[in-house]
């Protein structure tokens, strides 16, 4: 039965996570924005917190129960958690030890033996290359089996947690003649000869998060470090399978955007109300000040962002195919979050341009959320192809 109210326990989780974000993240938010590339030691206490990981499906998991007893699942809890933590600081959330994107990938497909070896490691994810960004299927990094080892060659850029992680999930092609079907992912541990962190980027925002370039030069890893099967199928099903993990992570990036936007809006609201200007959802928006109207429009957008995110997450929990909705949530949240944080700075005037306050930082931080895990344009492509039933050759 339709009900869009979050259950009490999720509301409580949100409050709890927000409290944690306020106590632990906000106080160091500016510090690590200024100290780019310095590891936030304060986050050590959070090692292993599963914000981006996916809980492994338990054997013999029960079927969802009937209405009253049914509870919302892990994806929705995660959306709520991520939103609350990113209300605190998205750059710091991306720096929580052990909560890398690579961890999500490992959790999704690792064998028990791999889980044993890598489950506790902080794993980054390396897909992007200098010549392959949105077009992830065109990566040039290769992996060649030589005896009991894979030999990897290539360059990976923009790897989140590059410096701090223990291992990296690297995408490489085992059979370039097979195109996308040859793309597999490999776990490469730090310290492996031929695996070098070449540089760290200086960025617009999320400066608390380290982003780096790896060069793989005749880098040898054990044969067992491949995630999933080594077999190259004729079809691109395998590649589509890898891309499917994005159906779970994209709503989480949307949730990050919801968190940052809500931080900015809340800050604005405090300042507006301190001037005795009411924001009480009462008057016709044509009769209020420009600031009030803009505020209401932004809050309505934030609600839309959140609801689209919750929808995609809820579908994942209910095991309903959510490819389109995952992209919808990210398309909307990525763009609207960027616009909200920009507008909040505009409305704050001088306060919005000052590093005395966090608003300018949120404007810088939120921009990445319309870029990584698939840019806004790529999300629109996915949505449009799906609803128009067009192939990637028809709609490029």
């Amino acid at each position: 039965m339709i009900n869009l109210e979050l259950p009490d326990y999720l509301d409580n989780l949100k409050t709890q996570m927000k409290g944690f974000a306020e106590g632990l993240l906000r106080p160091i938010s500016r510090k690590y924005d200024e100290a780019e590339h310095v590891y936030p030691v304060e986050l050590d206490v959070l090692r292993g917190m599963k914000v981006m990981g996916r809980p492994k499906k338990k054997e013999g998991e029960e079927k969802p129960k009937k209405d009253v007893e049914r509870k919302n699942g892990a994806n929705l809890s995660q959306a709520v958690t991520v939103e609350a933590i990113c209300w605190g600081d998205v750059g710091l959330m991306l720096s929580i030890p052990g909560a890398g994107l690579g961890n999500a990938a490992i959790a999704a497909v690792a064998t028990d033996e791999q889980m044993e070896r890598f489950g506790d490691k902080w794993a980054a994810m390396a897909i992007t290359e200098p010549a392959s960004g949105s077009d992830a299927g065109s990566i040039q990094t290769t992996a060649v089996l030589d005896g009991d080892e894979w030999v990897l060659n290539g360059e990976k850029i923009f790897v989140t947690c590059a410096d701090r992680c223990d291992a990296v999930v690297v995408w490489a092609n085992v059979d370039p003649t097979a195109g996308k079907a040859g793309i597999k992912s490999f776990i490469v541990e730090k310290g492996t000869p031929g695996f070098t962190l070449e540089k760290l980027e200086h960025k617009l925002g999320i400066r608390a998060s380290d982003t780096g370039t790896f060069v793989l030069k005749d880098c040898r890893i054990p044969k067992e470090n491949i995630l999933g099967s080594a077999e190259v199928k004729k079809s691109t099903e395998g590649f589509k399978g890898v891309m499917k993990t994005f159906d779970n992570t994209r709503p989480m990036v949307a949730a990050m955007s919801n968190g940052v936007a809500s931080a900015a809006l809340e800050f604005l609201k405090d300042k507006v109300e301190a001037q005795d200007i009411k924001l009480d959802y009462h008057e016709n928006t044509n009769n209020v000040s420009a600031t009030q109207k803009e505020y209401y429009l932004m809050e309505a957008n934030l609600e839309a962002m959140k609801l689209l995110t919750y929808k995609a997450s809820w579908m994942a929990d209910e095991k309903i195919f959510n490819n389109v909705e995952a992209s919808m949530s990210k398309a909307k949240a990525g763009k609207a979050g960027t616009l909200i944080t920009q507008k909040v700075c505009e409305l704050l005037g001088p306060m919005g341009f000052s590093r005395e306050h966090l608003a300018e930082k949120w404007m810088r931080d939120s921009k990445i959320l319309d870029i990584f895990e698939g840019t806004g344009q790529i999300q629109h492509l996915i949505v449009a192809r799906n609803i128009l039933k067009l192939s990637r050759n028809q709609l490029k």
Binding site: N3, N284, N286, Y296, L308, K332, Q394
Partner: protein, 364 residues
């Protein structure tokens, strides 16, 4: 729990309205718009599905089901998917029935509901909008003054759905700083109903101006008695209705352009193959979803017995902005053909403006 799946009952009701709209409205919406009229039989058929009366207790002529804003939201989306004018005409009586059933005194329910909840569709309505710049439903210029145990109403109203045929209407008026609803009967002294208004859209819906000149109504005419009504709740229910209808219109525009963009070839291929068209369609899809979710969110709060003031306010604001944008895309994607009235996107474009301009055209 947070749940987006429809219950059996919700699905059944939604499907029956969807079918009705497909059979009676979808292909006729343009003709009705041009004729400026909706066939009585089409309205009667929808009325018989009972959406306005289902939440009214059986003793007053209803079905005695739970009053469900969510169910009404589903119904309004389906009706407006066919045509918004039709949706408003069919549900105009809800503007009267819902507040009376929800907030009236027992005596008011007893005396007012049975006449409205009949097997045949009878027109009942509400007068809220006012014809002046800066109209705001929370600061009404129409006034009510207590005099010798009666109330004297003065003011001007506009966009009152079906007022000329209405047996009774609720008039929103300010009584000593508080917004209230008063029952005014057809032909009451001091009440005059104007000609059919000429509007930007909703051609087939009759709306009228209503003037109240020292229109005197008895004490019993004040809904809720001395307590009055929870006016925020009245507004919330009307605003969720607007957002729900917006979702229906947007979905209709989206469905039209999806097909058109695949069929229409220019430069040797379907225009859908162009990102500038495809991305508009993607945006129409998720914004339509967003409007619906905002309406459902507000309705969920009402359903749980909570205030939906904030959620309904934001839902209508968002729906007003986005419906216009979506229906604009709808016309744009059809190019010159979208500008021609036979193409339904044109009507949707005009009708979409009503969401932000008007208040109280229906109720959930």
């Amino acid at each position: 729990m947070f749940d987006l799946s429809l219950s059996k009952e919700q699905k059944m009701v939604k499907d029956s309205f969807s079918k009705l709209v497909k059979d009676l409205v979808a292909d006729n919406a343009h003709d009705m718009d041009e004729a400026g009229e909706i066939p009585v039989s089409a309205v009667q058929k929808a009325w018989e599905l009972g959406c306005s009366v289902s939440g009214v207790p059986e003793e007053y002529g209803g079905y005695g089901m739970e009053d469900s804003p969510i169910l009404s939201s589903l119904v309004l989306e389906e009706l407006a998917y066919g045509d918004m004018a039709y949706a408003v005409a069919v549900t105009a009586p809800s503007l009267f029935i819902v507040p009376v059933n929800d907030m009236g005194t027992d005596a008011q329910k007893k005396s007012l509901l049975p006449n409205a909840c009949t097997d045949d569709y009878n027109v009942f309505t509400m007068a809220m909008c006012e014809p002046h710049f800066g109209f705001d439903p929370v600061s009404l210029k129409t006034t009510a003054a207590k005099k010798n145990g009666s109330y004297v109403l003065n003011g001007a109203k506009c966009f009152v759905p079906c007022a000329s045929r209405s047996e009774k209407m609720l008039v929103a008026a300010n009584l000593d700083g508080e917004n209230n609803l008063f029952v005014v009967e057809k032909g009451a002294a001091g009440l005059s109903v104007g000609e059919k208004e000429k509007n930007l859209g909703l051609y087939s819906l009759e709306t009228n101006t209503v003037t109240l000149e020292n229109c005197t109504v008895p004490a019993e005419a004040r809904i809720g008695g001395d307590k009055g009504v929870d006016y925020d709740r009245v507004l919330a229910r009307a605003r969720i209705a607007m957002a729900s209808m917006a979702a229906g219109m947007c979905r209709c525009s989206l469905d039209i352009v999806k097909q058109y963009a695949l069929d229409r070839e220019q430069f040797g291929e379907p225009i859908a193959y162009r990102q500038s068209i495809a991305f508009m369609i993607a945006e129409m899809a998720y914004e339509t979803d967003a409007i619906r979710l905002l309406a459902w969110q507000a309705a969920s709060r009402l359903e749980a017995g909570k205030s939906a003031k904030r959620e309904a306010y934001l839902a209508k604001l968002y729906a007003g902005e986005m419906a216009m944008k979506i229906c604009d895309y709808g016309v744009q994607i059809l190019g010159g053909h979208g500008y021609i009235r036979e193409m339904n996107v044109e009507r949707l474009y005009r009708n979409a403006r009503s969401i932000s301009c008007l208040e109280a055209l229906s109720m959930v």
